[in-house]
């Protein structure tokens, strides 16, 4: 069962704020914090299981942090390590070296799909895009990887 949003929020809010403070700091981090949990709230009733809620919320936070930085420095080429890493996860460690070269959105979709087994609905929620677009990003990422590693 998906936990009540209150429980989810209480469990992850400190870590999310700490992460956003490290990426943005100050008022920008606070705005991004609110946007992160509002975006999660919007997608929350479409979640089908509660297996990867931490990865999910931190991915949402990282997308918002990236967008915020982009908005302020539109000419910067952002390194995709801006995507949040949960280094302790073996699935991610196995995938990370292979996905380094992907554009951030495709990389996030591939890692969430194949590293964490999230559904496309959840990935769509995390990347603030539709289920179909999430599916497309993941398969574009996989195609690109096949080409690179062929």
């Amino acid at each position: 069962m998906i936990p009540p949003f209150e429980t989810f929020y209480e469990t992850h809010r400190t870590e999310v704020l700490r992460y956003l403070n490290s990426r943005l700091g100050g008022q920008r981090a606070e705005d991004a914090f609110q946007e992160t949990f509002l975006r999660a709230l919007r997608a929350y009733d479409r979640l089908e299981h509660a297996d990867h809620l931490r990865a999910w919320i931190l991915t949402i936070a990282s997308r918002i942090a990236i967008d915020d930085v982009r908005r302020r420095r539109p000419t910067d080429e952002l390194a995709d390590e801006a995507i949040w890493h949960e280094d302790a996860r073996p699935a991610f460690e196995e995938l990370a070296p292979f996905t380094d070269g992907l554009p951030p959105k495709e990389r996030a979709a591939v890692v969430l799909r194949y590293g964490y087994g999230l559904g496309y609905d959840e990935i769509g929620g995390a990347l603030e895009t539709s289920e179909a677009a999430a599916r497309q990003a993941a398969s574009a990422g996989v195609r690109r990887l096949r080409k690179e590693h062929a």
């Binding site: 009540p4 209150e6 704020l17 403070n21 606070e30 949990f37 709230l41 009733d45």
Partner: protein
């Protein structure tokens, strides 16, 4: 070290409520004359009042019944809170709040709707309520519906007593039932 400011927390909770995305907003009203109360509201009205709340259990029950987007947020609950304050102060006799009984069996909804008509300061019996809802011999079933009333106080199951005038039972404990009836000046 990340400090988590109460202002940031309240700001998010208010924004979440304003977004219209919550299935249930709830708040805990501390130290009412009948103890701490958990009050839950949906976009349709009050859906839960719970004595001695064990939030974890209550929130899961609310999530099962109404959806997982259950969050504490004071603003949506304020209207109910103010009316409860007035009720406990003795200045309000009839709540002007819609209620949300979605998910309850049709029979429970029918009995609770009948219960809502029992007036402030008066009492009725399980048998009388059974008769009004179509089955005079269903006093025991009515008792069960009262016991599972999700919105006590607003839906006044404390006004239902045994045929002999005894208080009989109350999910929140007989002390509370007696307290509420005395507050209303009901003849005991």
């Amino acid at each position: 070290m990340t400090t988590f400011s109460p202002e940031l927390d309240e700001r998010f909770r208010a924004a979440a409520a304003a977004s219209g995305l919550l299935d249930v907003a709830f708040d805990i009203l501390p130290d009412t004359p009948v103890g701490d109360l958990l009050v839950g509201v949906t976009d349709q009205g009050v859906c839960r009042i719970h004595f001695d709340p064990d939030p974890e259990r209550e929130l899961e029950s609310l999530a099962r019944q109404f959806g997982p987007r259950v969050l504490r947020s004071a603003k949506p609950v304020e209207r109910v809170k103010l009316q409860l304050d007035d009720y406990f102060a003795g200045t309000l006799q009839s709540f002007e709040i819609d209620w949300d009984l979605r998910g309850l069996p049709a029979y429970n909804q029918r009995v609770l709707a009948e219960l809502a008509r029992v007036e402030y300061g008066s009492t009725t019996t399980y048998g009388a309520l059974a008769k009004l809802t179509g089955n005079p011999r269903a006093a025991r079933a009515v008792g069960t519906v009262m016991n599972r009333n999700p919105i006590p106080i607003v839906l006044p199951c404390h006004r239902v007593v045994g045929a002999n005038g005894k208080l009989t039972g109350y999910a929140g404990g007989l002390d509370r039932k007696e307290k509420l009836l005395r507050l209303e000046g009901a003849m005991l």
